[in-house]
Amino acid sequence: MPFSQELFDSALALYQVSPETQANLKRAVSTAYYAIFHFLIEDACQNWTRSEQRFALARVFEHKRMADASSSRVAKHKNATGGSPEFHLYSVANAFCQIQQKRHQADYDLSSSFSATDVELDLRLVANAFASWNVIQNEQIAHDYLFSLLFKER
């Protein structure tokens, strides 16, 4: 099982712990973020032909660069037709942006409180992002996005 899927399963398990606590809700969000973070990096690194260098390459990805690239896709494709490759890319990029911000809040803002409704929605957004990625993973638009997660577009 890919590491990103293990992380997502952990996020789901944390969400389902009873009784519900802020600690578990926040850890669920944080873990779900790392699931999509590593999911995208795993796929991006597959484009690097020298497999022995992929783990080192994975360390090069930065949260901010990935956020910038994703935000630009959200802005560009938010009104895409449902079911189109652009729509699926929007789903992926939007999930990444939303949950990255929530991860920051979960990990660093002790004054914030999370609701189970919002966390469940976030988990569903990430699950849908995985499904959308499976639809477009061989499309040029998807690989241009992966490239932009690592390299600034000019």
Binding site: H63, K64, A67, D68, S71, A75, K78, N79, N94, C97, Q98, Q100, Q101, K102, R103, H104, S113, S115, A116, T117, D118, E120, L121, R124, L125, N128
Partner: protein
């Protein structure tokens, strides 16, 4: 456009757009609160807090509602035109009654 370049008039226009969207979705949401700031990457951002009526809080109902509402808000408020990244939080009325966050009232 950076956050510092947002004028009071810009913010009033955005707030009016938010109120209109909230009215359009009033059968499903109680209200929308907003705040301006910077996101985790220091980019200018607008944060939407959407209070959802309890009957629309189950995720199978909330997901399509959230998808429509978020795109409507980005389009109507013009977040991209103002150079703002948009972030969305949702909670139900009954959850807010328990959590009692002033930012959500």
């Amino acid at each position: 456009m950076t956050l510092t370049k947002l004028t009071v008039a810009n913010q009033d226009a955005m707030n009016s757009a938010v109120l209109q969207v909230a009215q359009d979705f009033s059968s499903r949401i109680a209200h929308i609160r907003t705040s301006f700031g910077e996101d985790s990457t220091d980019a200018p951002a607008i944060f939407f807090r959407v209070l959802v009526r309890d009957e629309f809080a189950p995720v199978d109902l909330l997901l399509p509602l959230a998808q429509r509402l978020t795109i409507t808000l980005m389009n109507q408020v013009g977040t991209d035109e103002y150079g703002l990244r948009a972030y969305f939080d949702f909670r139900s009325v009954s959850e807010q009654q328990k959590l009692r966050d002033l930012d959500w009232d």
